[in-house]
């Protein structure tokens, strides 16, 4: 199965992989520093295990020609939907949300996997029967229907963050294939018009979070607590950071969800502005390489996948960092390759695998 063409190996994107592993390494360091405090020890080891699993997933994805994966997209899409529905039936409720399915000792978040499936599905839908630039209104309708169902399911879990990440991916891909800005604007306007409906669907705590975004000190010990504590953690890192042993703010558990969605705050406290610059540079390399692959690929499905994956990374990174630094409302989005969590890690590796797969077959 692992019969990879030697020529393909020449086209492995080492800067991309290097940046990804640099990020993973920094993330592991953060997790192990959290273990220095109390509780939470062993986080880094478990994360490392997920990384191992992720690497295997990446190799598996790379082995397949991405084109065969696109052909399988309708089946994968249905499988993804089935998993999302299964969450409601078998899922375990953790902090008020049903997001996880248990597979033996492992827990697994279908929504994370679905992000990757969604990109493949887009590539399939836009290239099915005709060239993508000839996208008709009918195709657009198709695509909107394709996204609406899983979107609603993910929102219902509730996992607003993951659902919202699908939108910039969709937007970026549609823009890339040449859907006119006017049409995209109309879609966005329709989305905004539907906002009141979405508002009704939100849970009270989700509404609170939006309020808190507008005024963090509205409820300093309740919902805004995360935001304020994260800001304090990041800010107190100052230029050079407090070092691993000095990062009291995050280590002393003032910071909630410090190993998952808010891990960047731990990093920023520990390494300061200079450290953040290095980390953001690594994400920058990753994303720039992604865009380059998208530009450099001649084949339509490949470049849609490359653009989709890149948009996914960029959107997740930006939304997470924006949320942790207080620029955006708090929605639960993990920082790719850094936040603790198996599904997110494996999904990120699969996405990377798609990117690499496209790159290696760029000139075929």
């Amino acid at each position: 199965m692992l019969r990879v063409d030697r020529r393909l190996l020449k086209n492995v994107d080492w800067p991309l992989l290097g940046a990804a592993f640099a990020i993973i390494l920094l993330g592991l360091m953060c997790l192990s520093s959290l273990g220095l405090g109390r509780g939470g020890s062993g986080l880094a080891w478990r994360q490392l295990m997920w990384v191992g699993l992720g690497v295997m997933a990446l190799l598996a994805v790379v082995t397949f020609d991405y084109r065969s994966l696109v052909r399988a997209a309708p089946a994968l899409y249905l499988l993804g939907l089935a998993l999302l529905v299964t969450v409601f039936v078998l899922g375990r409720t953790v902090s008020g949300a049903r997001r996880w399915i248990h597979l033996g000792p492992l827990t697994f978040q279908p929504a994370e996997l679905f992000k990757v499936i969604f990109i493949l599905t887009l590539a399939w839908a836009l290239t099915w029967r005709r060239a993508p630039q000839q996208t008709s209104r009918g195709t657009l309708g198709w695509i909107i229907a394709l996204i609406a169902v899983p979107f609603a399911l993910v929102v219902r879990q509730p996992d607003l963050g993951t659902a919202l990440v699908l939108l910039p991916v969709l937007g970026a891909v549609l823009l890339g294939v040449g859907v006119r800005l006017r049409i995209l604007g109309a879609l966005a306007a329709a989305g905004v018009a539907l906002m009141p409906l979405a508002w009704l669907a939100l849970k009270p705590y989700q509404r609170d979070r939006l309020f808190v975004y507008l005024d963090p000190f509205r409820d300093p010990l309740g919902t805004a607590y995360n935001v304020i504590q994260a800001k304090i953690a990041i800010g107190s890192g100052q230029l050079l950071g407090k070092g691993i042993s000095g990062a009291t703010q995050s280590r002393l558990a003032f910071l909630p969800e410090r190993h998952t969605d808010f891990i960047f705050a731990v990093f920023a406290e520990t390494w300061g502005f200079v450290g953040c610059l290095v980390l953001i540079l690594a994400y920058g390399v990753l994303i720039v390489r992604g865009f380059e692959i998208a530009v450099g690929t001649r084949e339509a499905r490949g470049r849609i996948i490359a653009l989709g994956v890149t948009a996914l990374f960029a959107a997740q990174t930006l939304i997470n960092l924006g949320m942790v630094t207080g620029l955006l409302p708090v929605v639960g989005i993990p920082l790719p390759l850094m936040s603790y969590g198996g599904s997110s890690m494996v999904a990120s590796f699969m996405a990377l695998g798609l990117l690499l797969s496209v790159r290696m077959r760029q000139f075929q």
């Binding site: 109390r38 890339g176 800010g235 002393l252 558990a253 920058g284 994303i287 653009l307 930006l318």
Partner: protein, 603 residues
């Protein structure tokens, strides 16, 4: 699908669109870096401070309250560690559950717990004291269930212990949590223990000390991770009083079961050696936890245990006042030691008849024997001869009718009528009968036991009025002096030495020559004194007709070291009731001298 045919133009368009997307992403990253620069570099210092505050909590450590010592270095009060139950609101995630558990566990009414928490913000990390003086058993109960009771802590605080529950109660005073009223002064923190009466209150500033604190590193749940720095509390300064614990104890023992007051003073400098007021309140009951009902019981007690009778109750001086009348007459020349009169038990003034206390009278009396036997008839006549103005002037000179200035609050001034030449109170003018009444210490005259002690000190020391002193000095723990007070003369009675000698001699006769104070006689020490029986306005039927019994005395008679004043409310005759109490106190004071005389007698 063959893509080789894709036109360069299409590829270029794709490239352009992707690059514009990349530009959007790049702009977003630049914005993000800007925010990071703002947070970490521009606001970094401020947020750094916040993060410090975030993880460091200050937990107050109560300063031990200063100790009060007697003049010989014996403690009048001490401290012992006591357990206080406190709540830390911020650490109580599920407040109602925790309170409910605690309420059941320690049988504290839910309402009480809620009230305690109402006074502080819900996110406060400062412990709110809920109950003091937990028993060891209660502490164990809480500690065993610590995990079920987040936010509930047991603090160790020093608490007052007393030798006996009522020992020197009025002198020392009790210590309680600041009241809401006192909080308004802004000097206290909620839950502070402050002196509410007596010396504890007067010297609270010194005794309280300064609370220390522990800087504790805590995690987000408020669980202490480590103590970073402990700032030791400054213990309160210690107070060296003028009190002699042995004498104080003797005085209280002697007054057991009586209502009244004793003041023991050093006539040479005004030092108060003992001061008791009976009945006393239980200091240990008033300190710490006190149920409202118990407090009301103390306040509403008809025997008014909270009142310091030595300073705050005013009584007619009765025959004790005869000393003043004699001093005034002898000094002014309207009375001589040779003056004699025949006492048949009655004195007629106009239509009024004034009686002697002794049925049938004293027979022939002179000035000295009139004092010794407290003959009323002699003093009725003498009073008229001396005149109300002179009597009032001398009464005032001896310090009656004005507060003594002792270092305790709430002192009453007493009353000397006729100071302004008029009778007080009603429109009726001053009558000869009023003078007659005043001559034996009745009528409107009012004095406090403390005033009488000062007056007798003046008789004993030849005319010096001392401000009664309770506090010698206040020393900080490092030995430096925080406050010191020296004896202060506040007045002088100028009588010729002959008159002083006469008075002292006569007062010695009261005790030692079969006078009214014979019951105060002790072997080995010459006690001098004057009895008094003051008419009281009976407040209840059972006490009706019972007079207040006085005995004001000093010893040794001609070189006085100590003044003892005893007042027994509704006790009866001074000689019968108050003098024996004084004797008990003298026996304690002159224990060694008395013992030596006894031994000599045996030989």
């Amino acid at each position: 699908m063959d893509l080789a045919g894709e036109s360069t133009a299409r590829r270029e368009a794709w490239r352009r669109r992707v690059l514009s997307l990349a530009a959007v992403v790049a702009v977003a990253f630049v914005g993000l870096l800007g925010q990071l620069w703002y947070l970490q570099v521009l606001e970094g210092g401020k947020l750094q401070e916040l993060s410090e505050k975030n993880r460091i909590r200050i937990r107050p450590v109560a300063a031990p309250r200063g100790i009060l010592f007697d003049r010989n270095g014996l403690a009048l009060v001490d401290n012992r560690p006591a357990f206080t139950l406190s709540l830390i609101p911020r650490e109580m995630d599920d407040r109602d559950t925790v309170l409910a558990r605690l309420s059941v566990l320690l049988k504290i009414p839910m309402r009480e717990l809620e009230e305690a928490l109402e006074r502080v913000p819900p996110d406060s990390f400062r412990p709110v004291r809920v109950r003091r003086g937990l028993t060891l058993e209660e502490v164990t109960k809480v500690e065993e269930r610590k995990l079920e009771l987040p936010g509930v802590v047991v603090e160790v605080e020093p608490q007052r212990v007393y030798p006996t529950s009522t020992f020197a109660a009025h002198l020392l005073g009790y210590v309680r949590e600041v009241s809401g009223e006192q909080m308004k002064q802004g000097r206290y923190r909620r839950g502070d223990m402050i002196g509410q009466s007596g010396l504890e209150r007067m010297l609270d500033e010194y005794l309280r000390g300064r609370d220390g604190g522990e800087r504790i590193e805590v995690d987000a749940l408020g669980r202490p991770v480590q103590v970073m720095r402990r700032e030791e509390p400054d213990p309160g300064a210690q107070v060296i009083t003028t009190v002699d614990r042995r004498i104080q104890e003797a005085a209280e023992r002697a007054m057991t079961g009586r209502s009244g007051a004793v003041v023991v003073m050093d006539p040479r400098n005004g030092d108060v050696l003992a001061m008791t007021s009976s009945p006393a309140f239980a200091l240990d009951r008033l300190t710490g936890n006190l149920e409202k009902e118990d407090w009301l019981k103390v306040v509403r007690d008809p025997l008014t245990p909270l009142m310091n009778r030595a300073l705050q109750s005013q009584y007619a001086p009765g025959s004790v006042f005869k000393v003043i009348v004699a001093a005034a007459g002898l000094q002014e020349g309207s009375l001589t030691p040779m003056d004699r009169t025949y006492c048949n038990g009655e004195f007629h003034l106009g239509q009024w008849t004034f009686k002697d206390w002794k049925e049938g009278g004293h027979g022939h009396v002179d000035t000295r024997s009139a004092l010794v036997h407290s003959c009323n008839i002699f003093f009725y006549q003498s009073g008229l001869k001396v005149g109300p103005a002179a009597i009032a002037r001398y009464a005032q000179a001896f310090g009656l009718g004005a507060p003594t200035g002792v270092d305790l609050g709430g002192e009453k001034p007493g009353l000397v009528p006729f100071l302004d030449g008029r009778r007080r109170g009603d429109g009726r003018g001053w009558q000869a009968g009023d003078t007659v009444n005043m001559s034996i210490g009745q009528g409107q005259l009012l004095v406090t036991p403390m005033q009488v002690a000062r007056m007798m000190s003046a008789v004993a020391n030849g005319g010096v009025l001392w401000r009664p002193r309770l506090v010698q000095r206040v020393e900080r723990v490092d030995g430096t002096l925080a406050y010191s007070s020296s004896s202060k003369m506040t007045g002088r009675v100028d009588l010729s030495p002959v008159v002083w000698a006469f008075l002292r001699q006569a007062l010695s006769g009261v005790v030692n020559e079969g006078g009214t104070g014979a019951a105060a006689r002790i072997p080995g020490v010459e006690v001098a004194g004057k009895t008094g029986t003051a008419q009281s306005v009976a407040k209840s039927d059972s006490a009706k007709g019972q007079d207040h019994a006085w005995f004001a005395s000093f010893a040794p008679a001609h070189d006085a070291e100590v003044v003892v004043v005893v007042l027994v409310e509704r006790g009866g005759k001074g000689g019968q009731v108050a003098a024996p109490i004084a004797r008990q106190i003298y026996q304690a004071i002159f224990l060694e001298k008395v013992a030596m005389v006894s031994l000599g007698g045996d030989g």
